[in-house]
Amino acid sequence: MQAPNKEHLYKLLVIGDLGVGKTSIIKRYVHQNFSSHYRATIGVDFALKVLHWDPETVVRLQLWDIAGQERFGNMTRVYYREAMGAFIVFDVTRPATFEAVTKWKNDLDSKLSLPNGKPVSVVLLANKCDQGKDMLMNNGLKMDQFCKEHGFVGWFETSAKENINIDEASRCLVKHILANECDLMESIEPDIVKPHLTSPKVVSCSGCTKS
């Protein structure tokens, strides 16, 4: 079925309360580094990660960080638009950030769904597990239950600092997106104009498309 050298481009959102480690996770995953200095990333919408999924498939992931604004929960539609999946992150050392997880999930589901109307795949990340490992160990079952109830496709204990489980979490999310996509009709409108990509002379005219 699959054509060789299949390329996929997915927009993924990284969401969660202030300081839970969203930017650190993206940095670790994409740039393979970690800094304990808290610093807002300026001027970058998303980081790009290229995965060689299998010999036939290349997956390009756009990881969209929440920009400064969005700390207060006022994300623009531009942020959500056409995302295929999301990570919701909380900080295992701060229970309040876990309590906010359902709020983030509900917010996400109310603003974003796949073209077929289904919710996007979301993986829950219990970050900073290098600091509070035992907090969740005993709660594994409860977490499974929580994910089932709230529609997460999976959860991982992660550490951006120690590079724990971030690749695994991403693989899990991509796996679900790929599985979902099989029943999604790829309906790319031919006559959409993207002014930044269209040079003035190349006019896509619906009347000229060959059938």
Binding site: G68, G117, S204
Partner: protein, 640 residues
């Protein structure tokens, strides 16, 4: 939600309309610490777009808004020091007036259903009666109930049928329009008995020879409500206009997608026709004679460089453009095309302005498509948000639902130094940009406003049907009597992501002389026929049917000069709400002018670094050589 909000900024911007949002992006981009706030719960102010239920909530808010008087103004007074003065800001928004809603489709029991999440919906059920049963009374929301429940003047009978089905027979067409007026009057709740048993069954049973049309009910509009993105202002982007240039230059365009407006239409002698505007259109046109085609081409070619031929128009600079056209060997047909559909000007406009407008139109042709206009996917309301995202990406902080009580002015310097928000929190900044609807009556006592008349219609077919039902059209309806304004009609199809399948979203706009309904209803009647009527009158079937309509007036503050506001410190800058024009030139000009005033010499919205330039390959962990990935930048340059 806003705890932990910093209290020191360079620029505080109040209002998230288009000019404020462009300014926010520009300031943040040039390294300023920006706080951008809006008292509403959504982005865009009067530039916003809404889902169907969002629009109903918006209407409701206006109703409630007018009921709430000023209360609790005491708290902040204690926070003002002796060396300071306060300028209070407005508490209620008075920019929207005369809202009137008409519903022409059947309102059933399940009209009280909330717009449900796409997530819970099984699409295959939508048109079947089962869904309504599933949801019947399941989620009667108080809010929706009282909002939809109004039904003045409805005259409908329930007719029990033998098999237990209940169908509605509409009696008295004139009165069948369910009308909801939001003047704050008490409204009664009127619901029908369960009439949803068989949605697909036609009401007129022996109509087999009628063309098949999809039946749409009110509950469907509500259920599919998230498919709608209904703009409060109806504008388009000129493909060579200031906004598109700014979007490209700043690379904010990466957040937006557009569709070409596919047709320019005209309304003449009771008929909607397509206007030929490109060379190909002119030659393919079947309505025009060969002679007319040549005349039109000759005239349009002249307009493209009219400045080079002053002898052609010099003697007519004192006349109106319409007078001038009469001298140009154009048939009345062609004069009409040029005046209303190409120049899109009022008949009274001068020859020079008419030529200028015609030239602008022709220059915009063909940059992206066959007409000079683009429409943003998901609606015009996306555009301010694109600039807000850009601002945020450069560190700007956003707070919606954040009210500002007053500006704090330092008596000695006369400059504004802070705002006090509804938490009583003082937030300091150097510059303040305020959208004018936030200014108090006192500040605006000398200001005279114009008004815009708007109508939003949901219809079942296009005003000009062709093989495709996916056209985006603009139609100028000339004034019926001299002295009145031409009405601009924009018709959007579902692929613009602004309305549900099998419907069109139609926007009407003109500058007001009376209330929006008084200004626009006659045009609506010319182009559409109320939903119920067509069930009976077959002659009318050629016209699209009207499912739902909203009229409102919006304040147009675009022409107000800064000096008309009294008592504003020099570091407080004012942005205006939307204007009546088709393009967005006013907002862009205003933003750029204010930016240059505040930060002389700073570059206005330069392109940001491209995130795709930073690529790390997952396997070989080698960053790609810089420069190899500058595709977008390169393309950007090539589009100059």
């Amino acid at each position: 939600m806003a705890d932990g909000l910093p209290t020191e900024f360079d620029v505080v911007i109040i209002g998230t309309g288009l000019p404020e949002s462009i300014l926010a992006a520009a300031c943040s981009r040039s390294g300023q610490r920006v706080l951008h706030i809006d008292s509403r719960s959504y982005y865009g102010g009067n530039w916003a777009s809404f889902t169907f239920s969002g629009l109903l909530s918006w209407l409701k808010e206006y109703q409630q808004n007018s009921d709430i008087g000023d209360k609790s103004t005491a708290t902040w007074q204690d926070l003002i020091h002796e060396t300071e003065e306060a300028i209070t800001l407005h508490r209620k928004d008075e920019t929207i007036q005369h809202t009137e809603v008409f519903c022409y489709v059947r309102q059933d029991m399940d009209d009280n259903i909330e717009e449900i999440d796409d997530l819970q919906k099984n699409p295959s059920l939508v048109t079947s009666g089962t869904l309504s049963k599933l949801l019947d009374s399941a989620c009667l929301s108080e809010e929706m109930h009282s909002l939809y429940g109004t039904s003045h003047g409805i005259s409908a009978k329930e007719i029990p049928k033998n098999d237990g089905e209940i169908l509605l027979e509409v009696t008295g067409i004139e009165e069948s329009q369910v009308k909801e007026k939001y003047y704050g009057d008490k409204t009664c709740i009127h619901t029908f008995a369960d009439g949803d048993k068989d949605e697909n069954k036609p009401i007129v049973e022996d109509n087999t020879d009628l063309p098949k049309r999809n039946r749409i009910t009110y509950s469907q509009l509500v259920k599919e409500g998230r498919k709608f993105n209904i703009d409060l202002v109806s504008k388009l982007l000129y493909s060579q206009g200031l906004l598109i240039d700014l979007l490209i230059k700043s690379n904010v365009s990466r957040y937006a997608e557009f569709k070409n407006v596919t047709r320019i239409l005209t309304f003449r002698e009771g008929k909607v026709e397509q206007v030929p505007c490109s060379r190909a259109d002119v030659f393919n046109n079947k309505e025009l004679t060969m002679v007319e085609k040549r005349m039109l081409m000759k005239f349009l070619t002249f307009c493209l460089d009219y400045e080079q031929h002053p002898d052609e128009y010099q003697d007519f600079t004192q006349c109106s453009f319409s007078e001038y056209l009469k001298t140009k060997k154009l048939t009345p047909n062609l004069q009409h095309f040029v005046l209303h559909s190409i120049a899109m000007t009022e008949s009274s406009c001068t020859t020079i302005d008419g030529l200028k407008a015609t030239k602008n139109f022709l220059q915009c042709l063909g940059r992206f498509g066959n007409t000079p206009f683009l429409f943003p996917l998901y609606g015009q309301g996306e555009i301010p948000q694109c600039f807000c995202r850009m601002c945020a990406v450069f560190g700007g902080i956003y707070c919606l639902r954040h009210k500002v009580q007053c500006l704090v002015v330092d008596k000695e310097s006369g400059r504004c130094k802070a705002i006090i928000d509804h938490f009583g929190q003082r937030i300091n900044a150097k510059y303040f940009i305020v959208e004018d609807s936030y200014l108090s009556e006192e500040t605006c006592s000398n200001v005279q406003y114009k008004q815009i008349s708007r109508a939003v219609l949901i219809t079942d077919q296009s005003v000009l049907k062709t093989d495709s039902d996916q056209h985006i059209s603009i139609l100028i309806v000339p004034p019926a009597e001299p002295g009145m304004c031409a009405v601009r009609v924009t018709e959007l199809c579902s692929s613009t992501m602004t309305c549900m399948k099998d419907t069109h979203l139609v926007h009407l706009t003109c500058s007001s002389s009376k209330t929006a309904r008084e200004d626009l209803e006659s045009v609506v009647k010319k182009l559409f026929t109320p939903y119920a009527e067509t069930e009976i009158d077959r002659e009318e079937l050629t016209k699209p049917r009207l499912l739902w309509a909203l009229y409102f007036n919006m304040r147009d503050s675009s022409g107000i000069s800064r000096s008309s506001y009294s008592g504003l410190p020099s570091n407080v800058y004012v942005c205006s709400g939307p204007d009546c024009a088709l393009g967005n030139e006013h907002a862009v000009k205003q933003a750029e002018t204010l930016f240059q005033e505040i930060f002389p010499g700073e570059e206005f919205c330069p392109p940001p670094p491209n995130p795709e330039d930073i690529v790390f390959d997952g396997d070989d962990k080698q960053p790609e050589a810089p420069g190899t990935n500058n595709i977008i930048m390169a393309k950007l340059e090539s589009s100059e």
